[in-house]
C-alpha cells in the first residue's frame, strides 16, 4: 500500500499526550527534519463511520492560515490512522494558565485575542465554524505564535467516543444559541472567544463552579457574564461585545479586530513570557517526567488455529473435526465475564456513580495497545516506577498539540492498562498479542481480575469523565490525586481494590441512608426474573407503540441521517421474541442498572425514540419481505 510507505517518512519520538481521539506523538519528518505532531487514532476502537473522520480531515486539509494549526498529511498504518500536524511547542493556553497567578495580564490577553480573531476571520471567510474555542484549544508556538487547534477534527473525533463529552462535557464556552439548538452560525465562535478571554483573565470560565449540566441551563437563561474588577474599560467593553446574547448584535471577527482593546495590542513575542513561566513552574515541580517512547507494534502474529478454519471442502469429514473445534478464547475469560455479569447485578449500585461506563457507544473490547516503554528507565525489567509518576488525569503541560488538555486523558480509562503496565516485567514482550486481555498475566486470582476490571471499567472511566467535566483547577487536582491513588492500588494490588469495593458495598448496605441513596435503584433487579420481565416489556413494546403506520416508517427509514441506525437495526432477529433470551435479558437488566441518570439528558431521549422507530420500520420491512419467516 502506498500508505505504508508514507509512515516511514516520519520518525516517531516520545508521546506527547493522550486525547479522547487517541495518542499524540512528537515526530520528525525525516526528509526535512521538521518537528511535527502525529496523532494516532485507532480506528478499531470506534464503531462510528470512518466517513465522518474523513470528511473532517478534508475540511482540515483545505485550511491554510498561519493562525490555524497546519494539517500536513494523514495516512493509514494497519488499523491506525496517523494525522500529521504542525508541532507547537509552547503548549495550550490552558496549560499556560496553570502556574501562579493562574491568569494572564490584560496585554497578553489582547494579543491572544487579536491573533484568534485573525484566525477566526480566515475560517469564517472560508465558511467554516470552529465550534470549540476555549483556552485548551489555543496553542502557542515556542516563539509565541498563537494558533487555533483542534478545528473540526477534534470536534468530530471527540464525538467518536461520546457525544456527551462534546456537548455536556465543556458547555461553559457555548453560546446561548448553540445550547438552545435553534440554529447557529459563525457568530457562536465569537461568544466562545469572549468566554475564553474571561477564562484567561480569571483563570476559569464563568459558571465554572456549576455542574456542566447546570451551566447548560444557566447560560441561555441568565444575563451574559460580565467582566468585573480592576480591568480596563476597553477590555470590559470588548467582553461585553463578544457576549451579546443575540447573535445578530454580536460583531463579526472582522469588526472586532477594529476594537480599541485589540488595536493597541502588542507583539506576539510578549507571550514568550508565559511559556517561560510555565517552564519554570515545571522545573520547580521537578517532575522530570519520562514519557513513553513510541514503539512499533509488530505485525500481529496469526492466532488462527488451522484446525479452526471453516470447511468448504466437501471431501473432509465434518464430524471428525468436532472434537478439535476450539472456542475463540480461553474459557477463563468467559468465566470472568460471567462473574462480572453477576457482579453487575449484585453490586449494581456501584454503577450509577460511574457515568462513563454507561456510554452506549463505548467499545468494551480492549486491545493491548502498542507497547510503550519509559524513556531512560534503561532496563525494562527494573522495578515498577513509583506510582506517582503516573498522572493519568493531570495534564502534561510541557508540550503543545495535545489537543485540549481538558480532554487530554479522557480516553485513558479503558486503555489505562498501558500506562499501568508500562514497566511490568512482561512488558518488553513485544510480541504481545493485540487481542490479549490486558493484565491477564499479572492478575491471576479471580478477585484480582475483578479488581482490575473494576478499575478499568468502572473507577477509572468514572474518574476521568468527572475530571473532564470539572473545570475548577482545585477540583481537578483533587480528582487527579484520587485517580492516581487508585491507579497505584490497581497496579500493585488489584485484589485489594476488589476487597475495598466489597467492604464499601457492605458498609453502604448497612447504613440505611446510604443504601437508600445509592443502592435503591437495583432493588427490582434482586430477582432476575422480575427484572427481566420489565426490561423486555419496556424495550420490545416501544417500537410497536411508536410506529403508527407503515407509510410513515418508510419515510423514516429513507432519512439519510438514520442510515447507520437503520443498518444496525436492520435486524434479522425479527422473530427473536419467541427465542430463549435469558442471557440477553440479564445483560439488559445489568445495563439498565447502569443508566438511571441517563434518560433526561438532552439529546439522549430522542435518540432512543429514533432507534426504536427505525427498528420497528425494519421489523415491518422484513415481514413484508419474508412473510413466512
Amino acid at each position: 500500500m502506498a500508505d505504508g510507505a508514507i509512515a516511514s517518512h516520519y520518525q516517531v519520538l516520545e508521546e506527547l499526550g493522550r486525547g479522547s481521539f487517541g495518542v499524540v506523538y512528537k515526530g520528525i519528518e525525516k526528509a526535512t527534519g521538521e518537528v511535527v505532531a502525529i496523532k494516532h487514532i485507532d480506528l478499531e476502537s470506534t464503531d462510528d463511520d470512518i466517513q465522518d473522520i474523513q470528511a473532517e480531515i478534508s475540511v482540515l486539509s483545505t485550511c491554510a492560515s498561519s493562525h490555524v494549526t497546519q494539517y500536513k498529511a494523514s495516512f493509514l498504518r494497519g488499523s491506525k490512522l496517523w494525522i500529521v500536524m504542525e508541532y507547537l511547542g509552547g503548549g495550550s493556553c490552558l496549560d499556560l494558565l496553570k502556574p501562579e497567578p493562574s491568569v494572564f495580564s490584560e496585554s497578553q490577553i489582547a494579543i491572544i485575542c487579536r491573533e484568534l480573531l485573525t484566525g477566526l476571520e480566515y475560517l469564517h471567510a472560508e465558511g467554516k465554524i470552529h465550534r470549540d474555542i476555549k483556552a485548551a484549544n489555543v496553542l502557542l508556538s515556542e516563539t509565541g505564535k498563537v494558533k487555533l487547534a483542534d478545528f473540526g477534527v477534534a470536534a468530530q473525533l471527540t464525538n467518536i467516543k461520546s457525544q456527551r463529552n462534546t456537548f455536556v462535557g465543556t458547555p461553559f464556552w457555548m453560546a446561548p444559541e448553540v445550547i438552545q439548538q435553534n440554529g447557529y452560525d459563525y457568530k457562536a465562535d465569537l461568544w466562545s472567544l469572549g468566554i475564553t478571554a474571561m477564562e484567561m483573565a480569571l483563570g476559569e470560565p464563568p459558571h465554572a463552579n456549576l455542574h456542566p449540566m447546570k451551566a447548560l441551563f444557566q447560560i441561555p437563561k441568565s444575563a451574559p457574564p460580565r467582566l468585573e474588577g480592576s480591568f480596563s474599560k476597553d477590555f470590559k467593553d470588548f467582553i461585553s461585545q463578544c457576549l451579546m446574547k443575540e447573535p445578530e448584535r454580536r460583531p463579526s471577527a472582522k469588526e472586532l479586530l477594529k476594537h480599541r482593546f485589540i488595536r493597541y495590542a502588542g507583539k506576539v513575542e510578549a507571550l514568550q513570557e508565559l511559556i517561560e513561566r510555565r517552564r519554570n513552574y515545571d522545573f520547580t515541580k521537578s517532575k522530570k517526567r519520562s514519557r513513553p517512547v513510541y514503539q512499533e507494534t509488530l505485525q500481529t502474529m496469526s492466532t488462527k488455529d488451522e484446525k479452526d478454519e471453516w470447511v468448504f471442502d466437501t471431501v473432509r469429514s465434518v464430524m471428525s473435526r468436532k472434537a478439535t473445534v476450539k472456542t475463540r478464547g480461553p474459557s477463563s475469560v468467559f468465566a470472568t465475564e460471567d462473574a462480572l455479569r453477576r457482579l453487575d447485578l449484585k453490586d449494581g449500585p456501584l454503577q450509577p456513580s460511574s457515568p462513563a461506563s454507561g456510554t452506549a457507544r463505548r467499545v468494551t473490547s480492549r486491545r493491548q495497545p502498542s507497547l510503550a516503554q519509559m524513556i531512560g528507565t534503561g532496563s525494562v525489567r527494573g522495578p515498577p516506577p513509583a506510582p506517582a509518576l503516573r498522572k493519568p488525569l493531570q495534564t502534561d503541560l510541557s508540550f503543545g498539540n495535545s489537543g485540549s488538555s481538558q480532554r487530554l486523558f479522557r480516553r485513558v480509562p479503558s486503555d489505562s492498562s498501558t500506562s499501568g503496565n508500562i514497566s511490568w516485567p512482561d512488558s518488553n514482550d513485544v510480541f504481545t498479542n493485540e487481542n490479549k486481555t490486558p493484565h491477564a498475566v499479572e492478575a491471576n486470582s479471580k478477585e484480582a481480575m475483578l479488581g482490575r476490571r473494576l478499575y478499568s471499567k468502572a473507577v477509572d472511566p468514572a474518574l476521568s469523565e468527572l475530571h473532564a467535566q470539572t473545570s475548577a483547577l482545585a477540583k481537578r487536582e483533587a480528582l487527579a490525586k484520587l485517580s492516581d491513588a487508585f491507579a497505584a492500588l490497581d497496579a500493585v494490588d488489584p485484589e485489594g481494590a476488589y476487597h475495598m469495593m466489597q467492604n464499601l458495598m457492605a458498609n453502604m448496605t448497612q447504613d440505611h441512608r446510604l443504601s437508600n441513596a445509592f443502592l435503591q435503584s437495583t432493588t427490582p433487579l434482586k430477582s432476575p426474573d422480575s427484572g427481566t420481565q420489565s426490561g423486555t416489556v419496556i424495550i420490545k413494546s416501544t417500537p410497536k407503540q411508536e410506529v403508527p403506520s407503515p407509510a410513515k416508517l418508510v419515510l423514516a427509514s429513507n432519512n439519510p441521517h438514520l442510515e447507520s441506525h437503520r443498518r444496525r437495526r436492520g435486524s434479522t432477529a425479527v422473530e427473536g421474541n419467541g427465542s430463549p433470551r435469558k442471557p440477553a435479558d440479564r445483560e439488559k437488566a445489568a445495563l439498565l442498572a447502569k443508566y438511571p441518570g441517563r434518560e433526561p439528558q438532552p439529546g439522549m431521549e430522542h435518540s432512543k425514540k429514533i432507534t426504536d422507530l427505525v427498528y420497528g420500520a425494519w421489523v415491518n420491512g422484513l415481514r413484508m419481505r419474508w412473510p413466512e419467516l
Partner: protein, 381 residues
C-alpha cells in the same frame, strides 16, 4: 492583470472574460516552455478564478446582475472552460483549486432567473447531454491527490442528479451505448466491459493514499446508494462483473479502511429494499458465503463485526440455496460454537446480541440435509 480587474469592475463583456480565462488555462498545457509557463499559471490561475468568482457569485460586493451571470455561464460552456478546469484542476495552486471547486458548484447549480426551479440547471443539463467528458474528467481527479478533494466534492453535489450518475456508471469509452454521447444514448441493458470510468473507482479506492481513497469511496457510495431506480437495474445487468470486483478488490483489500467500509457498504446495498433482487441473487452464491465467513475470522474485530451484518443475510434467508445450506451444514457445529462466543465483549449492543441469538437458532434448526428451497428464487436478478 490590472486589465482583468478593470474588466471585473466595469463588468463589460463578460464573454470576453471567459475567453481570457480559457487562454490562461490553456497555457497550462504548453509543454517545454518550462518554468516560466508554470509561474504564469500560478500567477494567473488565482486571478482569473478570482475574477470569475466575483462575477459568478452575485453578492452585494460584486454587484453582478443575474443576466451577467447567465452570460458568463453560457460563455464558460461555449469556451469549454469547464472541461479545461476539470482536466487541469490538479495543476492549479492550493487556493485556486478551492476557487475552482466553488466555480463548479456554482455553475452546476445555476438556473436563469426566468427558469422554473424544476428544470435542470443549464450547465448541468448541457454537460449531461453534450459534454459528459466534464464529469468523467472530474472523476479522474482521483488520479492526483491535489485534485481529489475538490473534484470529489463537486462530484458528490452533481451526483444528486440521476442523469449525472448515469453518465458515470455507463461510461464505456467508445463502445456503442456508452454514455460518452450523452445521457440519452445510454443502452442500459448492455453489460459493461469494465473499462469505463466507474470501474476505475475500485483501483482508486484500493490503491490510493488514505485521503484520496477515502474521498473516492465516499463518492462511490453516493453513486451506489442514491438512485433507487438506476442502481438496482445497473447492478442486475452487471451483477457478475460488479460483485467479482467488489469482493476481490474492495472486500479483500489490504487497506483496513477500504476493507471495513466496503463490507459495511455491501451490507447496506444488500439490505436496501430497492435492491431486493440483487440481494436474493447475492445470497444464493456459496462463493459469496465463503468470503463472508472468512471475514468473521478476520484479525480485526470491526471487520468481523461488519462481516457479521452481511453473514446474517445469508442465514436469515428462508430460501437458502442448496450451495449455501451445504456450507452452513458442513460447518454447523463450528458455527454454533463460534457464534456463541462471537464478539462477546459487545455486551451493550443489544441489537447485535439479539441477532446473534437469532442466527444461532436458525443454524441449529436447519434440517440435517440440504433441502431445495421451497420457493424457487429467480435465477439471477
Amino acid at each position: 492583470m490590472s486589465f482583468l480587474f478593470g474588466r471585473a469592475r466595469t463588468r463589460t463583456n463578460t464573454l470576453d472574460l471567459s475567453k481570457q480565462a480559457r487562454e490562461h488555462v490553456l497555457k497550462l498545457e504548453v509543454p517545454g516552455k518550462g518554468h516560466q509557463v508554470g509561474q504564469l499559471i500560478v500567477f494567473r490561475g488565482p486571478i482569473c478564478n478570482g475574477v470569475l468568482l466575483t462575477l459568478l457569485v452575485a453578492s452585494p460586493e460584486s454587484d453582478s446582475t443575474p443576466d451577467q451571470v447567465y452570460q458568463l455561464v453560457q460563455g464558460l460552456i461555449e469556451e469549454d472552460l469547464l472541461l479545461l478546469l476539470a482536466q487541469h484542476l490538479w495543476r492549479l495552486p492550493f487556493e485556486s483549486r478551492k476557487d475552482t471547486q466553488v466555480i463548479f458548484s456554482y455553475v452546476f447549480r445555476f438556473r436563469p432567473p426566468t427558469a422554473s426551479p424544476k428544470t435542470d440547471p443549464v450547465a448541468l443539463s448541457y454537460v449531461v447531454n453534450n459534454k459528459p467528458q466534464v464529469l468523467l474528467e472530474l472523476c479522474r481527479g482521483y488520479e492526483h491527490k491535489e485534485s481529489a478533494t475538490p473534484a470529489g466534492s463537486v462530484l458528490r453535489e452533481v451526483l444528486k442528479s440521476e442523469a449525472a450518475a448515469a453518465i458515470i456508471l455507463y461510461d464505456d469509452g467508445e463502445e456503442p451505448g456508452s454514455s460518452l454521447k450523452g445521457v440519452t444514448a445510454i443502452e442500459r441493458e448492455r453489460p459493461q466491459s469494465g473499462s469505463g470510468v466507474f470501474w476505475r473507482f475500485f483501483d482508486w479506492i484500493d490503491k490510493s493514499s488514505f485521503e484520496v481513497a477515502a474521498d473516492a469511496f465516499t463518492t462511490f457510495r453516493e453513486l451506489l446508494t442514491k438512485h433507487k431506480d438506476l442502481v438496482p437495474r445497473y447492478l442486475a445487468v452487471n451483477f457478475e462483473l460488479f460483485f467479482d470486483r467488489y469482493n476481490h478488490v474492495l472486500v479483500q483489500s489490504n487497506s483496513y479502511v477500504t476493507k471495513r467500509q466496503s463490507i459495511k457498504l455491501l451490507g447496506e446495498i444488500l439490505l436496501d429494499r430497492s435492491n431486493y433482487n440483487v440481494m436474493t441473487a447475492y445470497v444464493d452464491r456459496g462463493e459469496h458465503l465463503k468470503i463472508c465467513m472468512n471475514l468473521l475470522r478476520d484479525d480485526r474485530k470491526m471487520v468481523q463485526y461488519e462481516g457479521f451484518h452481511v453473514f446474517k443475510v445469508f442465514v436469515a434467508n428462508p430460501h437458502k440455496s442448496v450451495a449455501v445450506q451445504k456450507i452452513l451444514l458442513m460447518n454447523r457445529d463450528k458455527l454454533l460454537n463460534f457464534l456463541s462466543h462471537f464478539l462477546e465483549d459487545r455486551t451493550d449492543d443489544e441489537q447485535f446480541i439479539d441477532e446473534r441469538e437469532f442466527l444461532i437458532k436458525q443454524i441449529r434448526n436447519m434440517p440435517p440435509n440440504p433441502v431445495p428451497p421451497a420457493r424457487q428464487m429467480p435465477q439471477g436478478p
